[in-house]
Amino acid sequence: MKILYFAWIRQRIGKSSDELDVPQEVATVSDLIGWLQSRGAGYAAAFADRDALRMAVNQEHVDAAHPVSNGDEVAFFPPVTGG
């Protein structure tokens, strides 16, 4: 699974992406967040405030209940501020 991080989430994790094999029990974006949080302090800090978190699966905005699987591109970012 390709996982992308943007803005302060990227800064807290310390990199802009991961390429990871995700265990089978990770079925949704919410599961993925829980699994990533256990990967270290940077991840824990990045995902501490779930309300501040937005996500996309295969480049479409989704909510945390959206399913994920290993072929997907998943992205985490704060609320967008373009324009």
Binding site: L4, F6, A7, W8, R10, A56, Q59, E60, H61, A75, F77, P78, P79, V80, T81, G82, G83
Partner: protein, 150 residues
């Protein structure tokens, strides 16, 4: 039509290209967003726009298609820059062209409102107190919600 680019743009050139050869256009509305030198009370010396290449283009194309589906537009353009910008520089523009002005005005407002809440861009402001990420504004969510279909 959408464009995501680092370079600046010339609005008059863009409008001329968009309207040229389409003499049914009676009104053109544009909105240009500029980097301000202050933000929530702090001086801003520069702004860096981060985005999500790939998704940005898709999301802008979706918003553009939605505007064309909702209003009788003769032409439509969204340009958004990324990278480091100085106060006064152009960040983005939307241009809408229609036979009549009401459609062009409404579609332009819609494009800006949706772009501000859906397009994956993030602004990092540099100032005297260091760098800080711009926070999303509730007023932008409210503006975008005006256009949600029932």
């Amino acid at each position: 039509m959408i464009r995501v680019q680092r370079e600046d743009f010339d609005l008059a050139v863009e409008i001329a290209a968009l309207t040229g050869g389409r003499p049914g256009i009676g009104g053109v509305v544009s909105f240009t967003g500029l980097v301000r030198d202050f933000s929530t009370g702090k001086q801003v010396s520069a702004m860096t726009l981060e985005h999500y290449p790939g998704m940005t283009e898709k999301e802008l194309a979706r918003i553009d298609a939605e505007a064309c589906a909702r209003w009788p537009l003769e032409a439509c353009l969204v340009i958004h820059r990324y990278g480091r910008l100085q106060p006064g520089e152009q960040i983005m523009a939307v241009v809408t062209a229609s036979a009549h002005r009401q459609a062009a005005f409404e579609a332009a407002e819609f494009l800006v409102d949706w772009l501000k809440t859906k397009a994956p861009f993030w602004k990092l402001e540099a100032g005297e107190q260091g760098d800080s990420w711009v926070e999303a504004q509730a007023s932008d969510d409210e503006a975008a919600a005006r256009w949600e279909k029932p």
